[in-house]
């Protein structure tokens, strides 16, 4: 599904140039659950942003589903992203002004799904995440675990092929964290590819494979048994 080759990304300020990704190469197959680990500043988030087409690389190739996307313009990236990729963030990133239902509905609006179909699919996924009873609440009225479940519901409502999760349990206690990891594992078992950035060895153990980064390069890969 994903194949990146010699990917490079630099950050420049007036005085210093920082290398975030240094000729990084990797591939992820369809149906895999991959965890990316490494110390702060190793390039994990940069990689995730590029994989999620929120950012573009300076050098190298990124092939997504056999399409070279490294130098797509913003419009094309947005189009590819909204149909194929779901995001889960550490800080949930729900829109405060929208209810649970409306937050989950948002990706469907952007992909042009009809209103009746939207209601059906949002209810389906809320039911699956067991937060149906909170559908008319606003994010601030929910606990952290509930908010993350809403965020996951939003990430999967469009039935994406790939879910990118950036420290999904980082803001949760261990019990809520485990719930979230179970949810992600279920999704993976149903066929969704998952790439997750994490600091937690415990969470990483849910994955099939751990890629460890240091200074923008892969330093180790662990296949989980």
């Amino acid at each position: 599904m994903i194949k990146i080759t010699n990917l490079e990304k630099f950050y420049r300020t007036e005085e210093v140039e920082t290398i975030a990704l240094n000729k990084l190469s990797m591939h992820v197959d369809t149906g895999e659950f991959v965890a990316i680990m490494g110390p702060s500043g190793c390039g994990k988030s940069t990689l995730l942003n590029i994989l999620g087409m929120l950012d573009d690389p300076d050098e190298g190739s990124y092939v997504f589903n056999d399409i070279e996307v490294a130098h797509f313009n913003e419009r094309k990236r947005a189009d590819l992203r909204k149909h194929n990729i779901g995001f889960v963030f550490q800080s949930f990133n729900l829109i405060d002004e929208l209810t649970v239902f409306e937050n989950v509905e948002l990706p469907l609006i952007y992909t042009g799904v009809s209103a009746s179909e939207r209601v059906k699919r949002v209810e389906e996924v809320l039911d699956k995440m067991q937060i149906m009873h909170r559908r008319n609440h606003y994010p601030q009225q929910l606990s952290g675990g509930q908010q993350q479940r809403v965020a996951i519901a939003r990430a999967v409502v469009n039935k994406p092929k790939l879910i990118l999760a950036d420290e999904p349990t980082g803001n949760l206690d261990s019990s809520n964290g485990n719930d979230v990891m179970e949810l992600l594992t279920d999704l993976n078992e149903q066929g969704t590819t998952i790439i997750m950035v994490t600091h937690s060895e415990h969470d990483a153990r849910y994955s099939h494979r751990i890629i460890r980064l240091l200074d923008g390069q892969t330093v180790m890969e662990n296949i989980m048994v």
Binding site: R81, D96, E97, L98, R154
Partner: protein, 785 residues
Amino acid sequence: MIKNYVKIAWRNLVRNKGFALTNILGLTIGMVCTVFIFLWVKDEVSFDKFHTDHDNIYKVLATRDFKNNIFTDPSMAMPLAKAIDGGNPQIKHAVVTTYREEHLVEYGNTKVKKYLYQVGEQFFNIFSWKFTKGNAATALSDPKNMVITESAAKSFFGDADPINKVLKLDNANNFKIVGVVTDPPGNSTFQFDFIIPFDYTNEWVKNRMNEWYNSSHNVFVQTVPNANMAAVDKYIDQVKHKNAPNDKISTYYTFPMNKWHLYSEFKDGKNVGGMIEYVRLFTVIAIIILLIACVNFMNLSTARSEKRAKEVGIRKTLGSEKSQLVTQFFFESIIIALIAFGLAVGFVFLLMPFFNTMVHKNLHLNVFEPVFILGAFVIIVFTGVVAGSYPALYLSSFNPVKVLKGTFAAGKAAVLPRRILVVGQFVMSILLISATIIVYQQIQHIKNRSIGYNPNNLIMIPASDDINKSFESIKQELRNSNLVSSVTRTSSPLTEIWWKSGAPDYDGKPANADIIFSGLQADVDFTKTIGTKVLAGRDFIGTPGDTSVMLLNKAAVDAMKLKNPIGMVMRYGNRKYTVAGVIDNVVMASPFDPVDPLMVYYSPNGASAINIRLKEGVAPQKAIAMLEGIFKKYNPKDLFEYRFVDQEFGKKFATEELISRITNIFAGLAIFICCIGLAGLASFTIEKRFREIGVRKVLGATVRQLLMLISAEFLKLVLIAFLIAVPLTWYLMSSWLQKYTYHINVSIWLFGAVGVLILLLTLVVVSLNTMKAAMANPVKSLRSE
């Protein structure tokens, strides 16, 4: 999608009440001004448009060339209309009318003064007055017919049918009412209570119909559609000159009805505009005020952009395109504009009576009128798009990676445009305030100009034949009353010029010295009564010899370049006059213009005005009661009427004072909207710097130092605005002042005062907002991390 936009917009408003209120209040005030100006402008440009054929109706004007002085004259010879009516295939109809006349109208015991026009037979064919009774075709068929307006009919007959009722005019002639028309609307050049036909069997009218050199009527023509106006003008000019071959100074042409109201001023024979200037001025002011309000919106929206940044990031991550976000933010600004407009319409309804009183109009707002709906649409979309443009483009450009990671901070890139906008706002406000003060000063300057006589304690009473006949007895009674210090008669009121002509001849007159003179006839005690100075020679003394002397004003002596005018012989018409005295320049016409040369000669019995100077300290009410008794005794048939000359003179400033009042209000509102925006911006700055304020306080900063810290940021901007506004205002207002012969010079002190005012205002507004943060316990702000 749209539902989602509306939802988000609405919830954002509800959740950020302060922000919403500030924005909506500013926009509402801006829109109230805009709607009022829109209504005023709409009324001004609609003048006379209710006549069905307004595109093809013209007034005949003459350019009269006195070599040194060219002027435009609407007064025409009476037979002209009949001579051109039907004489040219392009001219459908032509009609002659009098100027508007005031007459005493009598029915039963009711006697009132009313306005009327005497008109030729084509009057109702050309102009579209709406008949509610009777019919236009036969209304003017008999010289004893009369057409009355609805409100005049009501004032005489109540709800009774006015048709066939007989009214008596000027105690002499009876007229039968044959038609009723709706009242002329406020936007009509013609304003009247009655229309009566000329009586062509009357000796006076018969004579006038053969008089091609006496110009004292108005002539109107109605052409066929798309007439060749150059040819029509040429034809009229030819007809007039064929009948009046000695009229070598005049050129005749037509002036379209569509321009009568807005382009009514002429200078040196050329049209120089008129109300159209104010229409343009107010349109510009409306746009400026709306822009100032829009700038508030832009500033506040971008200032709170960090709060919206997360939403933008999430939406982009979820697949929103930039264009969708731009649309969303425009949608929000248009919704705010829509709410503001709704409120504005409410306020307009509430404030309409005050506005009408102020502008002396009877405007009303009809929200179902297509032109209003179109105007509303334009205002809302304009405001929404202008106000929303910068926030929409700015907010939608956020990088989702940065905002979601929290590393996003609105950098200098966002602050600079905001500062430029604030500076622009203040430039406009300073300009409006300074301009308002300059207009006021200019009016005061003209008011304080020496007008050459003393209009206070001076009462004018219109004369009649009876009054002139008994004048000596009236004068004796006035003297006996002990309230009056002197009395004189004049051929026209002191605040009007009724008579203009060429200069008299005199020995040594240069061949090309064609000077326009004003003329006045007066009685003894002329200079004493009106309170003007005799600069040389003497006033009239009432001896038989006075009939062959004249007085000149200083302007006449200057224009004729006379060294020793006293005793010089002036030939005027077929008579000779010796100059007996030179008087000061009395301002009778426009106080904004120089005084024309004036000749005054002694001819007391044709007077139309009795001028009475009261003794110092006499209560006007007491004097009026005394005057009423005396004048009713000698002139029982007429109503007793009087005018205070100073009040009549004051009316000459009506337009300027109106303009001054309106600009005062608009300038005040503009600065108010600016302050609202400033307050909003200050509170956002403080919110952003809350932690910094806390840290500084812990380190020992005083409240005053903190106030200065925050205020300095804004004072700097005001200072820059001031430096831009001063030369701009100076340039604009200096060129405006040039159109007045007597004008002030723009003073540097004025700008100093306006500058201090604006600085103080900024300081107060910013301090009020900063105070809370500066006084707060720093522990609070530091803990809130």
